[in-house]
Amino acid sequence: MTSYSKEVLGDLAAGKLPWPQTRRIMSAYKDDDRFFKMVAVYQDRVAWKDSILLPVSDHLFICQSGDERITRCECGHSFGDYRKNWKLKAAINVRNTEEALREIYPNSDLPDAEWMEIREFICPQCGTLHEVEAAAPGYPIVHDFEPDLEGFYREWLGKPLQQT
């Protein structure tokens, strides 16, 4: 049975594991105890006490906060109920002019700002850029991920979540 230490998984998640070791992990049979170990890695990384239930992005986690399950930034900022789109409670910077696009693409040809804009979804507390959407103007903001959290814990992990 393949298994890795929390330290190895921590380095893997941080992109610090040497490539030959990373390559071996990629090629090997997957480790069945990965999920909870990785959650423990993330739990050590954050300063807050709420239990992480699911990582959903590089610095976003669904966690148990009292009776609520919320999406929280690594810095601690809460984006509210995990079933709602966290982006709606983020800060946004939209690049829809040549000048604004040129800041990110200084040496390339640019798309037509009339056809396409870049939307940066930012944590209002720490300023982390959590997600970038490239969309036509007027396109609704995407709700990227609605996990079946209850089903995942109950049927795949065999550890049903406590009722809230």
Partner: protein, 734 residues
């Protein structure tokens, strides 16, 4: 010759029976128990390994027969072994997208009465390149041969090569000017092209009379038939060793095992739930010669994808809300969509165990009728369907990757494959002969980033995991152009904590010809179609084409003056314009112009992949290395990533860590100062939506999506709290 089926039932009845059993039991062919695997797992695994070895060996042998650099150099070929009903049991490496499209081709023949006419006999060779029967595009020509054992049909061997010339309205295979089926090139529609293991002479003559470069197609046919015969004989030998009954059972258990393995891998690697994403494609043809005004010349497509993973491990992809098919070459058929799904799954999830059609059976595609994914008109062109397939399946890879991240398997998360434009050409070769060719160096774009490292530079395309750009010298043998540059495009990967893989740009001097037609396809310039993830930016959009007609390069070379070997990093003035005299041309979108001649210069950039994570977290030391080696510019390092560089004593860039920390803190503050709450932005933007204050192409896109999709309409209306129909389709009946 014999054409007796393996059971009392005819093939068609067996196929329908197999489908019924799958429907009733949920298991392939009604196999609810893997009896043979349980009896002797070692024998079971060994046999499948043998079948895979037959496939790999047959493909390698066949590549040596081909004359095409696409097949020989770049590996644009795949072979597979099928059940009598046409389900893939084992396959080779290569363009695996076609393993399932061939399956559709075999099933199509069975369902269309081929047992009676033209009959299926030992030694027959059937070919197809009709996407509505089972392929992706015209140049993907597939051959299959039935495998008989002592008079009983026991399977099929199949092979596909991507042809470099298909005889369409424009030379090459990805025929960018095709707006209907009738201009795509030479169609072979599930045709018996040979008997007794010999390709018919009249078929070869048809190829020779209808193609610009028949040597590629015809020798590829011979390569494919050779590989099929090789696999067929190996399977027959195997059956003589293990017995027919065992073969008939084990070949199907392999597929059911593959199906179960896919479900198990989904449960192991992902998290159940609903995942969403989108991408776009912008087509620009207004004013270009040759395009018929059958539809709007410029258009914008949205490609929204909703992926559901259920707790039983099934993955469903739904394209509801996307655009209708059109009079362009980028439509796709369900076969092509299946193929995209299959090749993506094989790379992302099927990295162990039995890889076959079972994986595909554990998934479902929802392809709305009438859209580009499932046209309700079989006259449409699909010659460049990759233009939409690639960005679409790039989204699929990002959706899967989010599930891997959620499950903790960060090393599997990958921002995905990219759409990258392709060059095709024809006219008079450097030898003074007619020629036509697709230039397949495009099979080595930049990949999307991973969640733990940068993407692959100039080394990945989604359709062929063995991506390869081919050697310059080989391409130069095949076309009247010589390379004067092939180099990394700085900043061509999307920015992020981990940047997307960079692409490359080639520059050619047209040589020894008075008539060279160059065309490009899959060229989406007005939008980003290769997105980023988790804060990473999309890769730059397609770069414009730059050419110099009547250049003075020979005079410059004679004087020993410096030349330009790449466009450079100034988006406003290229190095060609700075260093080379002549008539400079900058073209956006597909390159459709008058023929070139000796002395002209042409350049073409490929695309990089999207980035992953927040740019302000990128490693400064790695960035200094990137700048030193031409993957990033100094300007981008400081302006985009907030990394301040200084020079070491030898003049090489090194990171100034203290200055970088300071600059990044300032950038983070500036970021927050510029940003507004999303709710405020929505409230303001809503006014623009109500007025439909958008470019005509954007408005048209919304109107088309609303017309086709009640779900898109309701989601759009709900999000903006507007009546989408009344805004974008005023006067339309409800």
């Amino acid at each position: 010759m014999l054409d007796k089926p393996a059971s009392a039932l005819r093939l068609r009845e067996r196929l329908l029976d197999s489908e019924r059993l799958m429907e009733e039991t949920g298991c392939y062919d009604g196999i609810t128990e893997l009896t043979l695997r349980n009896q002797d797992p070692l024998k079971f695994e060994t046999l499948h390994t043998k079948l895979r070895a037959y496939c790999v060996s047959a493909r390698e042998m066949a590549r040596r027969i081909s004359a095409s650099p696409g097949v020989r150099e770049v590996g644009e070929m795949v072979v597979a072994i099928y059940t009598p009903e046409g389900d893939a049991i084992a396959l080779s490496n290569g363009i695996m997208v076609h393993v399932h499209t061939m399956s559709r081709f075999i099933k199509w023949m069975i369902k269309n009465g081929y047992e009676d006419n033209p009959r299926i006999r030992e030694g027959d060779i059937f070919a197809n390149n009709d996407a509505f029967i089972g392929t992706v595009q015209v140049p993907d020509v597939m051959d299959v041969v039935p495998i008989f054992h002592e008079g009983t049909l026991v399977g099929w061997a199949g092979a596909v090569c991507h042809e470099l010339e298909a005889g369409g309205i424009t030379p090459g295979g990805d025929v960018c000017l095709a707006q209907e089926r009738f201009t795509e090139g030479l169609f072979v529609c599930a045709e018996k092209i040979g008997e007794n293991d010999e390709i018919r002479r009249d078929y070869v003559i048809r190829c020779e009379r209808n193609l610009r470069m028949p040597i590629y197609w015809v020798l590829d046919e011979k390569a494919k038939v050779a590989s099929c015969i090789d696999m067929r004989e190996s399977v027959k030998q195997l059956i003589s060793e293990i017995g027919l009954d065992y073969w008939m059972k084990v070949s199907k258990e392999f597929i059911e095992e593959g199906r179960r393995a896919q479900l198990a891998r989904t449960r192991q690697l992902t998290v159940p739930g609903i995942y969403r994403g989108h991408t776009f494609y912008g087509h620009v043809t207004a004013g270009k010669p040759g395009f018929q005004l059958l539809g709007d010349p410029d258009w914008l497509y949205n490609i929204p994808i909703e992926m559901e993973i259920t707790t039983d491990g099934k993955i469903t992809m739904d394209f509801e809300g996307t655009q209708p098919w059109g009079y362009h070459s980028m439509n796709c058929t369900p076969a092509g969509m299946d193929g995209g799904m299959f090749v993506t799954l094989t790379q992302h999830m099927n990295f162990e165990g039995l890889v076959n059609d079972g994986a595909w059976m554990a998934t479902e595609l929802k392809l709305p009728h009438g859209t580009w994914t499932n046209p309700d008109n079989e006259m449409v062109a699909t010659a460049t369907s990759w233009a939409l397939l690639l960005p679409a399946y790039g989204v699929f890879q990002r959706l899967l990757s989010r599930s891997f991240i959620a499950r903790g398997f960060v090393e599997e998360a990958f921002v995905g494959q990219v759409n990258s434009p392709m060059i095709e050409m024809g006219g008079e070769s450097q030898y003074g002969t007619p020629f036509g060719m697709a230039h397949f160096e495009c099979a080595a774009a930049g990949s999307g980033a991973l969640a733990i490292k940068d993407g692959l530079d100039t080394a990945y395309v989604g359709w062929n995991p063995e991506s390869d750009m081919g050697n310059i010298e080989v391409w130069e043998q095949s076309m009247p152009m010589v390379y004067i540059g092939r180099s990394i495009v700085p900043n061509s990967g999307g920015a992020g904590k981990y940047r997307g893989g960079c692409s490359f740009v080639s520059t050619w001097l047209i040589n020894k010809t008075s008539h060279l037609r160059i065309h490009t396809s899959e060229h989406s310039s007005r939008v980003f179609d290769n997105g980023g993830m988790c804060g990473g930016y999309p890769a730059p959009t397609c770069q414009k084409h730059r050419a110099v007609r009547n250049s003075d390069i020979h005079e410059l070379a004679a004087k020993g003056e410096p030349l330009a070997h790449a466009p450079g990093i100034d988006p406003h003035v290229s190095d060609y314009e700075r260093n080379i005299g002549g008539d400079h041309v900058v073209v956006e979108g597909p390159y459709i112009t008058a023929p070139h001649k000796s002395g002209d210069i042409f350049s073409h950039s490929y695309n990089g992949g999207g980035g992953y994570g927040d740019v302000l977290e990128r490693d400064p030391i790695k960035t200094a290395w990137d700048v030193e080696n031409g993957f990033l510019t100094r300007q981008a390092a400081e302006q985009v990533f907030g990394i301040v560089l200084k020079d070491d004593e030898d003049g090489y860039p090194i990171a100034d860590i203290d200055a970088t920390v300071e600059r990044r803190a300032a950038m983070r503050k500036e970021r927050l100062a510029k940003a507004v709450p999303v709710v405020d932005w929505i409230a303001k933007e809503r006014g623009r939506v109500e007025k439909a204050d958008f470019a005509p192409e954007v408005k048209k896109m919304y109107a088309s999506a609303i017309k086709l999709s009640p779900r898109f309409t309701s989601e759009f209306s709900e999000f903006w709290n507007v009546d989408a129909r009344s805004i974008f389709m005023p006067g339309a009946k409800p």
